[in-house]
Symmetry: C2
Subunit: 325 residues, 2 copies
């Protein structure tokens, strides 16, 4: 170690008796150089001895690509689905030489968000579509970001998207309720900021199924759920937005002495492990994300390499019929 | 913009007719320079026009501090507690000029993990204690990381810790069960890797409360829960490790026709929103994390500035008595 400052590639070069360029070639595994195995191992030994590690930032300065994939986490609470997805994406991209970092959860968007992200000189940025404005995208491009990808439920004009088909969730749930003879059909739209927009997309899907659907605004609140349940007449099929809202309604229906599915049928979305523990067991729409990490990694890698490509579906949907419908 | 490469501080200097050092002083808000407001606004205008954003990596090279706080996310699924905590930490540190990034969830530890983290030249690293080996800490120090902090339930020799008091959870839960006249007392230890160690710490705490405590190994599985419940004789008080396991047991007890708390009392931990929806409503130990973000930010900031400081408690514990005990 050189005093108490971190070792630099210059220190490694001096210790190994080679040029700084040689150190860079060896430690970054760059192709196209004729460096002997003996020199390579001398450089690697010196780096090891001095505690030198390559610097993603310095790599950026030299090659224009840090390999950093910046994922701007959405403002909504991260469920186990999102966590597992990021873990798998990290594995997929790690195998291709990228480093995934999640950017802190500050609620910025547009140019302000883009400038903050650009400070890390990422090679790729994956962000919620609502946070990517046209001006923000320009800031990222000017800062050398090669792949810019939106996540959302509708395609974007300027950049490719990872599409989460919320309309499909609503349509699948309501078709199931209709098949089970439910009438009328009710769809819950959560009032929380961050969920509301997805709720409205699910409602649009619910209404595409060919039957009248009543929309109900609902906060995640036991008193509101009790008031909603008190207004039911029996026979309803309720698409509860997700499993958490479905569990809220199941508790309220239980408290009101209503039978599920005898009086009211309830279906959720997500197939949360906890939602399988309800009695009756909850029917749900399961978003199958198993193909998503590989698709996302391929999309990012193609954009970085400049190969044209389009939108990608994050999930496929599957109806899980249990006892609540 | 300069062709299709990102604008550099040199481009800004040329456009504003000043030196590169002046650009650096103005855009990084560094103190101690005498630059007129007129020059400052000319530099800022040029940066804006060229789409230039400062480069966290380049800042590292000049000042030795990137301001990046790298949080290596734990291998266990991230609950809403952990998510909220990171969001608040990000706000606290953002206000002090730091940038929080979460590093991908690859299951590395020791030197391998430290080398990967060091590539981003963070100013601070916060990682699960189990991933910080002595050799790994040396790698980080050699790479110029100024603050290295472990997260775990026991203090560490080499670095300060953010302490999560799992023993306190077990002790508080069992004292409550004893006060409610429960005998015998049973503590669930989850079998999942990643949870098991915390389960054993909670068990140690449970056994410190002064009564015999039977430990039960349990996977998060309905069949196993049913088998466990079939062996109960009545009168037991069960500390279920956390709210999710408590919900698993409530479902199994319901299926077996046992009354809660009449036959068996159950207490969880976490105070999850979903766990409030159980019938009977779940008693739980609530880890209050509200003071944690400010404490963590202060610890990180002090370490970066070289001010000596010690371990910090992440949470305080509170018993929430509802209807299941």
């Amino acid at each position: 170690m050189s005093g108490n400052r971190p070792a630099t590639s210059m220190d490694v070069a001096r210790a190994a008796g080679v040029s700084q360029a040689t150190v860079s070639y060896v430690l970054n595994d760059r192709p196209g150089s004729r460096i002997s195995e003996e020199t390579r191992s001398r450089v690697r030994d010196a780096a090891e001895r001095l505690g030198y590690v390559p610097h993603a930032g310095a790599r950026t300065l030299r090659t224009g690509s840090s390999g950093v994939v910046l994922v701007a986490v959405p403002d909504i609470p991260q469920g186990p689905l999102a966590t597992g997805l990021l873990e798998e994406l990290d594995k997929e991209l790690g195998g291709r030489g990228y480093t995934v970092v999640q950017y802190g959860a500050r609620r910025t968007k547009g140019v302000a968000a883009a400038k903050a992200w650009a400070e890390l000189r990422p090679t790729a940025v994956v962000a919620d579509a609502s946070r990517l404005t046209r001006a923000g995208i320009e800031v990222l491009r000017a800062a050398g970001v090669k792949a810019i990808i939106g996540m959302g439920h509708a395609p974007m004009d300027d950049v490719p998207s990872l599409l989460t088909d919320h309309e499909g969730v609503g349509a699948l749930a309501v078709r199931h309720l209709v098949e089970r003879g439910r009438d009328p059909v009710v769809a819950v739209v959560p009032r929380e900021e961050g969920l509301r927009e997805m709720g409205l997309a699910r409602l649009r899907g619910a209404r595409s199924a060919g039957v009248p659907v009543t929309a109900v605004d609902l906060a995640f609140d036991e008193a509101e759920a009790a008031a909603f349940v008190a207004g039911l007449k029996g026979g309803e099929g309720v698409f509860a937005y997700n499993d958490e809202y479905a569990m809220l309604l199941l508790a309220a229906l239980h408290d009101a002495g209503l039978r599920v599915p005898g009086d009211v049928a309830v279906i959720g979305c997500d197939d949360l492990p906890l939602a399988r523990l309800t009695r009756p067991r909850l029917s749900t729409v399961r978003p199958d994300l198993s193909a998503a990490p590989a698709r996302m990694a391929t999309l990012i890698d193609r954009l970085v390499r400049g190969t044209a490509c389009g939108d990608v579906d994050v999930w496929t949907l599957q109806l899980i019929e249990r006892d609540s419908t």
